[in-house]
Amino acid sequence: MDQGILNLETLWFVLIGVLWTGFFFLEGFDFGVGILLPFIGKKDEDRRVMINTIGPTWDGNEVWLLTAGGAMFAAFPEWYATMFSGFYLALLLILFALIVRGVAFEYRSKNPTSEWRTMWDWAIFIGSFLPALLFGVAFGNLVRGLQIDAAGEYVGGFWALLNPYALVMGITSLVLFTLHGSLFLSLKAKGVVYDRAVSVAKPLSIATTVVLALAMIWSYALSEGGAVPGLLPIVAIALLGAVIWLVRSEMFGWAFALTGVTIATVMAAIFIATYPNVMTSTIDPDYSLTVFNASSSAMTLKIMSVVALIFVPIVLGYQTWSYWVFRKRIGREDVTTAAH
C-alpha cells in the first residue's frame, strides 16, 4: 500500500524529526558544556563562566525535548506509548540526569562552600554525560530495529538495548555533543575558558570524525532492503572532516555551524532510513509501527498542524532574540563581582 509522502502523517514525522534535531542542536552544546565542566573549568570562577555561557538559554533548549515528547504523544500515540514504556529504565536514567542537572544550574552558585558547589558540579557533569550518551543509544536502536511483537509492544527488555551498534551510536552522540559544546564555548567564552575550549576542540574534532565514520559505516552494513539512508551519512562524515580543518584554521563560527549541520544531517539520515517505520520490528516486519498505523486521527493531526505552523516560527523568533541579547562573550570579570 503506497500512501505517498504528501500526507499529514509524513508531515508530522518530519516535524518530530525537526523537533528532535532542534533539541540535539541546542541542548547538544549544553550537554557538551556540562561534560567539559570538570576538564575545562579547573577553578570555580571558570566553571561559573562556562555555566553562564548557557545560563540564560539551556532551559529553553530543553523544552525542545518536551515538545518533541508531547508531539509524539499527540501525533503518534502508539509510537510514544511503545517507545516510552519499552525504553523505561533508560528513560528513567535520563530523567534522573535531567532533574539533577536542571536543579544544579539554578542552585550551585547560591551557596559559597566548595562542598556544595562540587556536589552540584558532579550533578551537572553526570546529568549532561548520561543523556548525551543515552539519546544516541535510543536512536541507534530505532535505526537497528527492536523486538516489537504483534501487539506493537517492545518485549526485548532493558539489556537488549545496550547492543554494540546502539552503544557506538551512543558514543557518537556523546563525542559529537562534546565537540559541539567546546565550539560553543570557543564562541561564547573568553580568557582561560576560551583557550582551553579551543585546545580541546582540536583533538576532539578528529576523534569525533573517526567515531562518526565508524557508526555511519556500520549503519550501511545494517541497512538491508528498504532502510537505505542514501548519501547522507557520507555527507555527515565529510562535514565533520571539514570541521577538523576549520578548527585548525581557527574559524570557530563556521566549525560550530557545521557540527550543527552534522547533527541535523545524521538526524535526517536516521529519519529517512526508518521511514515509513517509526519503530521497526526485528520479529516480523509486519509488526513494525509505521507513520500510518501509529498515528492519531486526521482531525488531531490537522489541529496540531495549524498550531505548529503558527507557533513554531514564533518560538524560533523569540529564542533567536534571546541568543542575540546574550551574544557577548563571558569572562571571569562577569562572574567575580557577584557576592553569591
Partner: protein
C-alpha cells in the same frame, strides 16, 4: 489489584503531589513579582526593586524544582501508562504538546531573559519578561487542565471501534467544556492563595523580628490581599466546581459526603465513620439541608447517594465496584475545604490588620501566618488533587476507561519498584537543598540599596 498497577498508581500520586507543592507557588508568585517590578518601573521607589529582587530569588529557587519534576509528568504517561496513552493519545496528547509549545517555551526563554537580562534590557522590556513568564505559567495551567478535565468529563470525542481508542471529534468542545472552565479558575485562584500564604509567612517572620520593615510591611500587605482574594476565589470557584461535579461525577460528590442513600433534602456531613460492608455510616453528624444548598443552591433538591449510583453504574457498565475509596475522598475533601477556610481566615485577618495599620503588632498573628498559613496552603493543595483523582476511581477516564489494565503491560513490577523508590528518594533528597536555600534566602531578607546597585551580578548562576 496487580502489583505493577498498584506501584504505578503510587508513583503517579507521589510525583504529582510533589510537583504540585512547587507549581502553585510559581503560578501566583510570578504575577506578584511582575506587579512589584511594574511598581518599581512606574514609581522608581527603590523599595519595590528590593521586593522584586527578594521575592524573585525565592521564586527562582521554587521554580527550578517545579520545572524538573514537570519532565517526569510528561514522560510517565508513556512510560507507566502506555495502554492509557494508546487509548487517549488522540485527544490527551494534543493539549500536552500545545502546553510545551505555547507555555513552556515562553516560561523558560523569558525567565532566562529576566534572570540574566537586568543590564542588557531596558527596565520596561525587562519588566515585560516577567509578565510573559507569568502569562506562560497561566497558559501552562490551562492546557494541562484541558487534559485533566477531559479525564474527569470526557466530551468532544467518539469511540472508534476499528482502532479501539477514543478519537477527537470536536476540539472546541474539549477546550470549552464546563469542567475546564470550573477547574482552570479554581487552580489559578489556588495559585494566588498559595503564593500569598507563602509570602505572608515569610514576611511575618521578618515583621516579628522588626527586620526590613519597609519591604516586609509592603510585602505582607500585598500577600494578605493575594491570600484573601485568592482563597475567596478558591472557595467561590470550588463551589462552582462542586456543583459541576454533582452533575458530571455524582459518585465523587456522594463519596465526598459519604452519602449512602439518595436524600431529598440532603444533609451535609460534618463527621462520619463509614461501614462499607453494610453500605452505611456507623456514625454521621450532619447539618440538615446543607448539602442540597451546596449542590443546587436550594434547600430541597435531591442528591443521589452511593448505593443508587453504584446500582446505576452496574446496570450501565456491568458488575463491579464503582465506589471510590471513601476514607480518602471523604477526609481529603474535608481537609481541602478546611485548609481553604483557614486561608480565608488568615488572609482576612491580614487585610484587616493592614487596613488598621497594625500588621506587625500582633505576635500571634505573625506566628499563625508563618506556621499555619503555609502548612494549610500545602495541605489544601495536596488534598485537592488527591480528592479529585482518587474520587474519580475506579475510572481513569470517567465512565469510559477503567484505571485497571491501563498501565504498561511490558513494564514489570520490578521496574516500577525501581522507579518508585528511585524517584521518591531523589525527590526527597532534592527537598533538602530546596528548603535549605529557600529558608536561607528568606531569612537573609532583601539586600540594602547598595547591594541592589549590582542587580545583574547577584542573579547570575
Amino acid at each position: 489489584m496487580d502489583a505493577a498497577l498498584l506501584l504505578a498508581r503510587w508513583q503517579f500520586g507521589i510525583v504529582t503531589v510533589y510537583h504540585w507543592l512547587f507549581v502553585p507557588i510559581t503560578l501566583g508568585i510570578t504575577w506578584m513579582v511582575a506587579i512589584m517590578e511594574t511598581s518599581w518601573v512606574r514609581t522608581k521607589n527603590p523599595v519595590y526593586l528590593r521586593m522584586t529582587k527578594f521575592w524573585g530569588k525565592l521564586m527562582l529557587i521554587n521554580f527550578a524544582i517545579g520545572v524538573v519534576t514537570g519532565i517526569v509528568q510528561e514522560f510517565q504517561f508513556g512510560m507507566n501508562w502506555s495502554t492509557y496513552s494508546r487509548f487517549v493519545g488522540d485527544i490527551f496528547g494534543a493539549p500536552l504538546a500545545i502546553e510545551a509549545l505555547l507555555a513552556f517555551f515562553i516560561e523558560s526563554t523569558f525567565l532566562g531573559l529576566w534572570i540574566f537580562g537586568w543590564k542588557k534590557l531596558s527596565p520596561t522590556v525587562h519588566m515585560l519578561m516577567i509578565w510573559l513568564v507569568a502569562f506562560g505559567t497561566m497558559a501552562s495551567a490551562f492546557w494541562i487542565l484541558v487534559a485533566n478535565s477531559w479525564m474527569q468529563y470526557p466530551v468532544g470525542y467518539v469511540f472508534n471501534p476499528e482502532t479501539g481508542r477514543a478519537e477527537m471529534d470536536n476540539f472546541l468542545q474539549i477546550i470549552t467544556s464546563k469542567m475546564v472552565w470550573a477547574q482552570f479558575p479554581h487552580t489559578i485562584a489556588v495559585g494566588f492563595a498559595t503564593a500569598g500564604a507563602v509570602m505572608l509567612g515569610v514576611a511575618a517572620w521578618h515583621l516579628a523580628r522588626k527586620n526590613h520593615l519597609d519591604v516586609m510591611r509592603k510585602s505582607a500587605a500585598f500577600a494578605s490581599v493575594a491570600l484573601l482574594a485568592g482563597s475567596l476565589g478558591v472557595a467561590f470557584t470550588g463551589h462552582l466546581l462542586g456543583q459541576t461535579m454533582v452533575q458530571v461525577q455524582p459518585m465523587k460528590m456522594a463519596a465526598a459526603e459519604a452519602l449512602w442513600n439518595t436524600e431529598q433534602p440532603a444533609s451535609f456531613s460534618l463527621f462520619a465513620v463509614g461501614d462499607k460492608k453494610n453500605s452505611r455510616n456507623a456514625v454521621d453528624v450532619v447539618i440538615p439541608r446543607a448539602l442540597s444548598l451546596l449542590s443546587c443552591n436550594n434547600l430541597d433538591c435531591e442528591v443521589q447517594g452511593i448505593n443508587d449510583l453504584q446500582a446505576e453504574m452496574v446496570a450501565e457498565h456491568g458488575p463491579g465496584d464503582y465506589i471510590p475509596n471513601l476514607f480518602v475522598t471523604y477526609w481529603g475533601f474535608r481537609l481541602m475545604v478546611g485548609s481553604g477556610m483557614l486561608m480565608i481566615l488568615i488572609g482576612g485577618l491580614g487585610v484587616w490588620f493592614y487596613l488598621r495599620g497594625k500588621l506587625d503588632e500582633h505576635w500571634w498573628f505573625l506566628k499563625l501566618a508563618l506556621w499555619v498559613g503555609i502548612a494549610a496552603a500545602f495541605l489544601g493543595n495536596a488534598m485537592g488533587w488527591i480528592f479529585t483523582e482518587m474520587g474519580r476511581q475506579p475510572w481513569v477516564v470517567y465512565e469510559v476507561l477503567l484505571t485497571r489494565g491501563t498501565n504498561s503491560p511490558t513494564v514489570p513490577a520490578a521496574w516500577v519498584t525501581i522507579s518508585l523508590v528511585g524517584l521518591s528518594l531523589l525527590y526527597g533528597l532534592l527537598a533538602i537543598p530546596a528548603v535549605y536555600l529557600f529558608v536561607k534566602f528568606a531569612k537573609a531578607g532583601p539586600g540594602d540599596e547598595e547591594d541592589n546597585a549590582d542587580v545583574a551580578a547577584s542573579m547570575v548562576y
